[in-house]
């Protein structure tokens, strides 16, 4: 079997967890660009073919096979209520800021909310909806997790409605304001 798509699919199925594209290329002895192209094709194939039950989940440089949101009733009938996650008002507010602005330092979340968010962020981290990214300067930058995407039924954070609009909003507001607010610079990811 020589088809790259089939190989990648088999690898993703076997591996289970999110895997770095670079690692896929290494294992299958492909170059990263060829791997990217094949992944995009596989992603399209899965999404557009009604006879397939899977999708490709993307987060940053990692990919994973995942069941389609339309088939969620199958999962729901197998796993029980312990996976139920309700959002309190504070959790919803904090989560939306991290989803649209992430990776984002806590200071920026506090600044926009006008309340100290450390407890809410800690609780979101414990629930696996938010994770601590790299340390930038003196503070950690927080971002959403694959688990969050699974609750949202999205295969990547960029699919959030009006994602780019809000990503730019903070930047625009900062430019409008002559005096920079006491918020640290907002990190815009390079990719």
């Amino acid at each position: 079997m020589n088809n790259i798509l089939a190989q990648i699919e088999a690898l993703l199925f076997y591996y289970g967890e999110p895997i770095e594209i670079k690692k896929i290329a290494e294992i299958l002895k492909l170059d990263v660009t060829a791997c990217e192209t094949a992944l995009t094709e596989l992603e399209k194939n899965l999404a557009e073919t009604e006879t397939r039950g899977l999708l490709l989940l993307r987060k940053e440089k990692k990919v994973q096979l995942i069941t389609k949101p339309e088939l969620k009733h199958i999962g729901e009938s197998i796993i029980k209520d312990e996976f139920r996650e309700q959002l309190t008002p504070a959790a919803l507010e904090t989560l939306s800021l991290i989803a649209y602005l992430g990776p984002v330092p806590r200071a920026t979340v506090d600044y926009i909310r006008g309340v100290n968010s450390s407890f809410t962020i800690r609780s979101l981290v414990m629930r696996g909806l938010v994770e601590r990214g790299d340390e930038k300067g003196a503070s950690f930058h927080y971002r959403i997790t694959e688990r969050f995407l699974k609750h949202m039924g999205l295969t990547s954070i960029e699919q959030m409605p009006e994602y780019t609009k809000y990503k730019d909003t903070l930047k625009q507001y900062e430019e409008q304001l002559q005096k920079p607010p006491e918020t640290p610079e907002v990190h815009i990811p390079s990719e």
Partner: protein, 260 residues
């Protein structure tokens, strides 16, 4: 205050409240509208009751039992609102550059908050309490098995297990030796009876300043037993003074008589 952090999860922040008040009046975010809602905001703040000591809560009270941390955030906003209000009532009031900056900052944050509040609707709309997609875990289909390296020989297993056993021995080695010697009372009585003569000797001489506390007790019991059998005579001139012990008569210790 138990669980204040959990309750914090259900409180609106000060910016949320402020925005709500402005939108109720169908106004835009501006210094005019902020001055306009200052009273309402302060009234809301009045309803806060901060329980500083436990058990201070009153079930029938309409006041909020608010976490002090949250109150602090509200007070920061309230102080800026008062500044704006003062300025609107007294246009001649000169504000410092810092105060001007704080007013601008509040206006700015509120506008920013209003923008981002809309994103909550997107999340609320898409969010499902149960996951909508399911993934596999790492190497799900790979059953846990023991794969020894192919070059592994049985004798290679010996040093590691010896090391483990050695470590375990260290672990279980007694830290301090507790000597639990059982001193037989009857043997002690015989021993003392044999050593005593009609010439008086002292308790310390019998004890010879050695042995454990247990032996000392047994020695004392043995002597008490010999007194009871009227085999010895003991004299002590005062409390804690040396005791002199001497054999009385020529009776020998009767081995058959059990000490009680």
């Amino acid at each position: 205050m138990p669980n204040f952090e959990l309750r914090l999860e259900y409180f609106q922040g000060p910016l949320d409240k402020l925005l709500g008040l402005i939108e109720e009046k169908k106004m835009e975010v501006s210094q005019v509208s902020l001055a306009n809602v200052t009273n309402d905001f302060l009234n809301y703040l009045d309803q806060f009751k901060v329980a500083l000591t436990e058990g201070e809560t009153d079930e029938d009270s309409p006041l909020f039992d608010a976490p002090p941390e949250l109150l602090a955030d509200f007070l920061v906003v309230a102080s800026r609102l008062l500044l704006i209000k003062s300025k609107s009532l007294l246009p001649s009031l000169e504000l410092s550059a810092e105060e001007e900056g704080e007013i601008k900052d509040l206006e700015h944050r509120l506008a920013l908050y209003r923008e981002f509040k809309k994103t909550q609707e997107h999340i609320r709309a898409l969010w499902s309490d149960m996951p909508q997609m399911y993934a596999r875990e790492f190497l799900t289909s790979n059953e846990p098995l023991f794969y020894p390296p192919s070059a592994l020989k049985p004798e290679d297993m010996l040093p590691p297990i010896q090391k483990i056993v050695g470590d375990l021995e260290q672990l279980f080695k007694p830290k301090a030796t507790v000597k639990n010697q059982i001193v037989n009372l009857r043997v002690k009585i015989q021993e003392i009876a044999a050593r005593l003569t009609s010439a008086p000797t002292t308790f310390n001489a019998l004890h010879q300043g050695k042995g454990t506390r247990g032996e000392l007790v047994v020695l004392f019991l043995a002597i008490l037993h010999l007194i009871k059998q009227q085999l010895v005579q003991v004299e002590q001139s005062g409390h804690f003074e040396e005791m002199t012990i001497a054999k009385t008569g020529s009776h020998e210790y009767n081995n058959e008589e059990e000490p009680e």
